[in-house]
C-alpha cells in the first residue's frame, strides 16, 4: 500500500448529488499539521468537498483516503476518532441543554458500559471553557443566540478530540470579537499539533490565519499554496470576479484584499 504523506486526501474524485456532478476529477491533499482554509464563491462546492472529506458524501468515482486507506472501507467509529466535522447548519434536538449537547461529542469514545469516564468529564469541561460557553451549561440550546449556538457546536466537535478537524464556516453568525476568538482557538489547536480544514468567506481572515489556502471555483481547485502566493489580485479576480488591490495587513503583514471602487462610488 502506498502511504500518502497527507492524512486526508481526495483522489481523482467525482462529487455530486444524484445525477448532478459538482466536482469532477477533483484531487485535493490536506497537508499534515497545517491549518488549511478553503475559499471560493457561494455554491462552488466547498461544503461538498468538506462532506466528501468527512465521508458524508461518497464519491461516484475516485476515492477519499484517510491515512492512505479508503475512508469508506473503515469503520465509522474509527473514523470518528480521527476526524471531527462541524457541518454548515447542524440541528439540535428540542430542549437539549448545552452541556448535554457538548457531551455528545464523546460518543466515539464511549460504549454501553463506558458511559461517562473521568476523562469524558474533563474534556467536556475543557471544550466548554475553550469556547467560552461554561456559563451557558444548563441553558437549552434552542434558547441561545445564533453565535452562542455556533460556539456550542464547536465545543461538541472539540470534545470529540480528533487530530483532524473539518469546520464548515465556523465563524458565521459570530460577531467580530467571537469570529476572532474562534479563529484564535483554531490557531491554538493548530499550534498544538492538530490538522485543520476550514471554509471561510472572509479572505482577509483566511490570509491571516491559514497556513495553506485552497481557492475553488465551479467545483475545481483554481490555486493552492501559502496565503501570500494565493491572495493576489490576479487570483482573487479569477476566483471571485472581483477587481481588487492587495495591500499588506499592517498587523500581520499578510495580504489584505481591498475591492476596487466602482466608478459610481468615486462620485
Amino acid at each position: 500500500m502506498t502511504v500518502s504523506p497527507s492524512p486526508l486526501a481526495v483522489e481523482n474524485a467525482t462529487l455530486g448529488y444524484g445525477r448532478l456532478a459538482i466536482s469532477e476529477g477533483l484531487t485535493v491533499d490536506v497537508p499534515d499539521g497545517e491549518f488549511t482554509v478553503i475559499i471560493g464563491p457561494n455554491a462552488c462546492g466547498k461544503s461538498t468537498l468538506l462532506k466528501a472529506l468527512a465521508r458524508m458524501l461518497k464519491p461516484s468515482a475516485g476515492r477519499v483516503l484517510l491515512d492512505g486507506r479508503d475512508i469508506h472501507s473503515r469503520s465509522t467509529r474509527t473514523v470518528a476518532r480521527r476526524l471531527g466535522l462541524l457541518p454548515q447548519s447542524p440541528i439540535a434536538p428540542d430542549g437539549i441543554t448545552v452541556a448535554d449537547l457538548v457531551a455528545r461529542g464523546r460518543y466515539p469514545h464511549q460504549g454501553i458500559l463506558r458511559q461517562w469516564s473521568a476523562r469524558d468529564e474533563a474534556v467536556v469541561a475543557e471544550a466548554m471553557e475553550a469556547t467560552d460557553i461554561t456559563d451557558l451549561a444548563s441553558r437549552s440550546v434552542d434558547e441561545l443566540s445564533g453565535g452562542q449556538r455556533q460556539r456550542v457546536w464547536i465545543a461538541m466537535v472539540l470534545a470529540q478530540q480528533t487530530p483532524l478537524l473539518l469546520l464548515d464556516e465556523p465563524t458565521t453568525y459570530l460577531d467580530i470579537t467571537h469570529q476572532i476568538e474562534v479563529l484564535d482557538l483554531c490557531a491554538k489547536l493548530h499550534r498544538e499539533g492538530r490538522t485543520l480544514v476550514a471554509v471561510l468567506h472572509d479572505l482577509n481572515q483566511a490570509a491571516r490565519y491559514a497556513t495553506h489556502l485552497i481557492a475553488m471555483r465551479d467545483g475545481a481547485v483554481v490555486a493552492e499554496g501559502a496565503p501570500a502566493d494565493i491572495v493576489t489580485d490576479d487570483i482573487v479576480e479569477k476566483v471571485f470576479d472581483l477587481p481588487c488591490r492587495i495591500i499588506e495587513d499592517p498587523e500581520t503583514a499578510t495580504p489584505l484584499v481591498i475591492p476596487r471602487a466602482r466608478p459610481r462610488d468615486l462620485g
Binding site: 447542524p90 430542549g95 455528545r104 460518543y107 466515539p108 473521568a118 469541561a125
Partner: protein, 350 residues
Amino acid sequence: MSTASTPVRAAVIRVGDYSVRLRGRTVAAVAGCVLALVAVASWSASTGTFELTPDRLWAALTGSGTHAEEFIIWTVRLPRLATAVCVGACLGLAGAIFQTLTRNALGSPDILGLTQGASVGALGAIVIAGASTTVVTGSAAAGALGTGLVIYLLTRGSDPSGYRLVLVGIGVAAILAGVNGYLLTRSDIVDASRAVFWLTGDLAGRDWGQAATVAAVLAAGGIATLVISRGLDALRLGEVTAVGLGAGVGGVRATALVTASILTAGGVAVAGPLAFVALAAPHIAARLTGSSRSFLCAALVGALIVTVADAAAVFGVGGRQLPTGVVTGVVGGVYLMWLLVTQRKKGVMP
C-alpha cells in the same frame, strides 16, 4: 482551568474502566412505575366477580389456597395480567423507538400504518377465511411486519429527516384503512361483529401461551433496543452529526425499524390495536423522567397504561365488562388532548 462543576447532571458509577451514568429522576420514575405496576396488578388480581383478600391472594400465589382460588388466579387472572403487562411494554417501547427514529412526537405505529397493517391481516383472516383465533393472531402479526417492511423499503437510502418516514407511514396507513373498510363492508354480520371486536382490542381470556409469546417478543425487542440505544441517541442529532460522531446510521435505522415493527406486531397480534398506548406512553415517560432517552421507562408506562385500562375494563360500566381497547382509547385520547393543549409552548427533548 476549572473542571469543578459537573456539566452533566447525573450520578456516575465507575468501576475500573467501566462507567454507568444514572439520572436521579429517571431512576425515580422507573422505580415509581414498577411500584405502581405491582400495586395495580395486585389490585386487579384480587378484585372482580371473585374477590380475594390480600392474604388469600398471597395464599393462592404461593400454592396454599383453595382449588377455586388457585384456578381463578393461575388460570384466569395471571395470564391476562402477564399479557397486559407485556403487550403494554411492547407497545410503549415500539412507540418510543418510532418517535426517536422519526424525531416526531406523533411517530407511533398507529400513525405509521403498522396497526392498520395488523388489522388488515386480522380482518382478512376473519372475513375471507373465517379463521381460528390462532390464525388471526399470526395473520395480524404478518400484517404488521409486512407493513414495516414496506415502509422500510420505501424510505431506505435517502432519509435526511424523519419527516419522510412519517409521511410515507401516513400514506400507507390511509391505504390500509381503506382496505379495512372494504373488508368490513363485504363481510357478513357474524364476521363483521367479530372483526369490529378485534379492531377494538381486548385482553379477555388470554392464556399462558399467548402471554409467553408476547413475553418472548418483548425480551427480543428489549435486547435489540439495548444494543442500538446509543446509536438511536446519536440519531437524535440528525443524520450528518450522527455519522460524524461515528454511529452506524444505516444499521441503526434498519434495526430500529425492524425491532419496533416486531414489537408492534407482537403486541397488536395478541391484544388487537389498543388505541393510543404506543403514542402516549413515550410522552408520559418523557414527562416523568424529564428526558426522553429512557426506553425502559416508556415500556413501563406502556405496561402501566394497559394494566390500568384492563382493570378498568374488567370493572366495567354498569356491571358489564368493556373491551380493553375502549378504555385505552379514552385514556389515551384524553391524554393526547391534554398534551396538545398544554405543550403548545415547549416540549421535552424528543
